[in-house]
């Protein structure tokens, strides 16, 4: 009986340990492709973006909002405004190294919400901070660039070719925390038409962001 218990314990421990997908190194000829992948789907210039947002909350309930984001990748600053479809501002915050909430209407008035939102915006619109830990290919053949962030988290930028881009963020213990899919249906100077964000774990949520308007702010 005892050996079986030990075996089950060992199996449980094994299953609870997460692991990162293997990155297979690319040859020298793949260097330009690797560089492109490491640049990712992130815009270099300043933009004003308007998205319609479908939020799926724990329990499967859906809510619809409008999201206005003004981003400046060079300074890594962002202004984020969430509105109802009728145009009422329910959340307005500025991110410039720290978050300054200008307006927050319940239930969007918690610090947890503000921090989570800015983290999601960082993941979606800004190239990861930190350094490139590895680049190459996944088992599927998709090109990948792995960033190690200063806080211990890891971000995989995966070039899915015609299907767009996928960004996966892992916690320091390698558990998958966020998945972002960026899809391109039309030419918006590198701005994706559709973004799907999945927050894994509990409580999970999902956002589907459809681009309504993209205005370049850089001359």
């Amino acid at each position: 009986m005892k050996p079986i218990f030990l075996l089950l314990t060992a199996l449980g421990l094994f299953l609870s340990c997460s692991s990162l997908p293997q990155v297979y190194p690319a040859g020298d000829s793949a260097e330009p492709q690797s560089g492109r992948t490491c640049r990712g789907p992130y815009p270099d210039d300043d933009w004003q973006l308007l998205h319609s947002i479908e939020a799926t909350l724990p329990g499967g309930k859906k809510g619809f909002l409008m999201g206005l984001t003004v981003i400046s990748p060079s300074s890594r600053t962002a202004r984020c405004v969430i509105m109802t479809l009728e145009g009422f501002v329910i959340f307005d915050a500025l991110y410039d190294k720290k978050i300054t909430v200008k307006r927050a209407v319940a239930p969007f008035d918690s610090e947890v919400f503000a921090n989570g939102l800015i983290e999601d915006i960082n993941l979606i619109f800004f190239r990861p901070s930190g350094y490139i830990k590895a680049s190459g290919f996944l088992k599927s053949g998709a090109a990948v660039c792995r960033y190690q962030k200063p806080d211990g988290r890891l971000v995989d930028i995966i070039n899915q070719g015609a299907h767009g881009w996928e960004i996966r963020q892992y916690l320091p213990d390698f558990r998958l925390a966020r998945t972002v899919k960026s899809m391109y249906l039309d030419d918006h100077k590198g701005i994706s038409d559709k973004i799907e964000l999945n927050a894994h774990g509990a409580p999970g949520y999902a956002l589907v962001m459809d681009l309504v308007e993209a205005i370049p702010l850089t001359d």
Binding site: F64, M66, L85
Partner: protein, 203 residues
């Protein structure tokens, strides 16, 4: 998720005010309001914010049938429909070609709205305990929240009445010093018979 009851309340204020007549006194407003049974109109909504390089513009149509049926429909750039009928509120959002119901709507708060709309339709919006209303020269009504905490959401609402009796020209909702919404109404038709299905079905 969203206190949509609050939003619906504002929409209803706007809609109800469309039924208020051209007048220079509260008494005349109340008198004109009694002549309106239904409203059909197009609208343009401009969202102005300091950070925007140009305002966000939406367009749509609205249908109102007294005492408490409303269809507030955005056509562009994002399609959505808010339906109010027999005390029930539903909101739909167009997604991938089909209309999906917004489950975040706070339906309970609509009961309060339905009670208030009756007052507004009778032109008694100066009775509304939420706002202090004043009638200014040039057929302008200014509504300011009485509750200090409510001013965090809306600082004031300004309604400009049309030359045409029982029609308003525009509404401005000031959320803060650098953010306001402007609604401009057009092609207003009063007292046209409206199909009941407009308020029950999205299509």
């Amino acid at each position: 998720m969203i206190n949509s009851g609050f939003l619906v309340r504002i929409i209803l204020i706007v809609t109800a005010l469309m039924c208020l007549g051209w007048a220079d006194s509260w008494e005349e407003l109340k008198s004109s309001a009694g002549t309106v049974a239904s409203v059909r109109a197009g609208f343009t909504q401009e969202k102005h914010m300091k950070i925007l390089t140009r305002p966000l513009v939406s367009e749509g149509v609205l249908f109102f049938q007294g005492p408490d049926s409303l269809r507030w429909e955005y056509k562009h750039p994002v399609q959505s429909i808010l339906l109010l009928h027999n005390g029930n509120t539903r909101r739909f959002f167009k997604k991938s070609g089909s209309l999906v119901e917004d489950a975040s709507a706070n339906l309970q708060s609509m009961q309060v709205v339905v009670q208030e709309i009756t007052q507004w339709l009778n032109g008694r919006f100066d009775d509304n305990p939420m706002f202090a209303a004043r009638l200014e020269p040039g057929r302008k009504i200014v509504m300011v929240p009485r509750d200090e905490s409510f001013t965090r959401l809306i600082q004031r609402i300004e309604i400009l009445l049309s030359d045409r009796p029982a029609v308003i020209k525009s509404v401005m909702i000031f959320e803060s010093e650098d953010s306001f919404t402007r609604l401009v109404f057009k092609d207003v038709i009063l007292n046209q018979k409206l199909d009941d299905a407009l308020f029950r079905k999205v299509r």
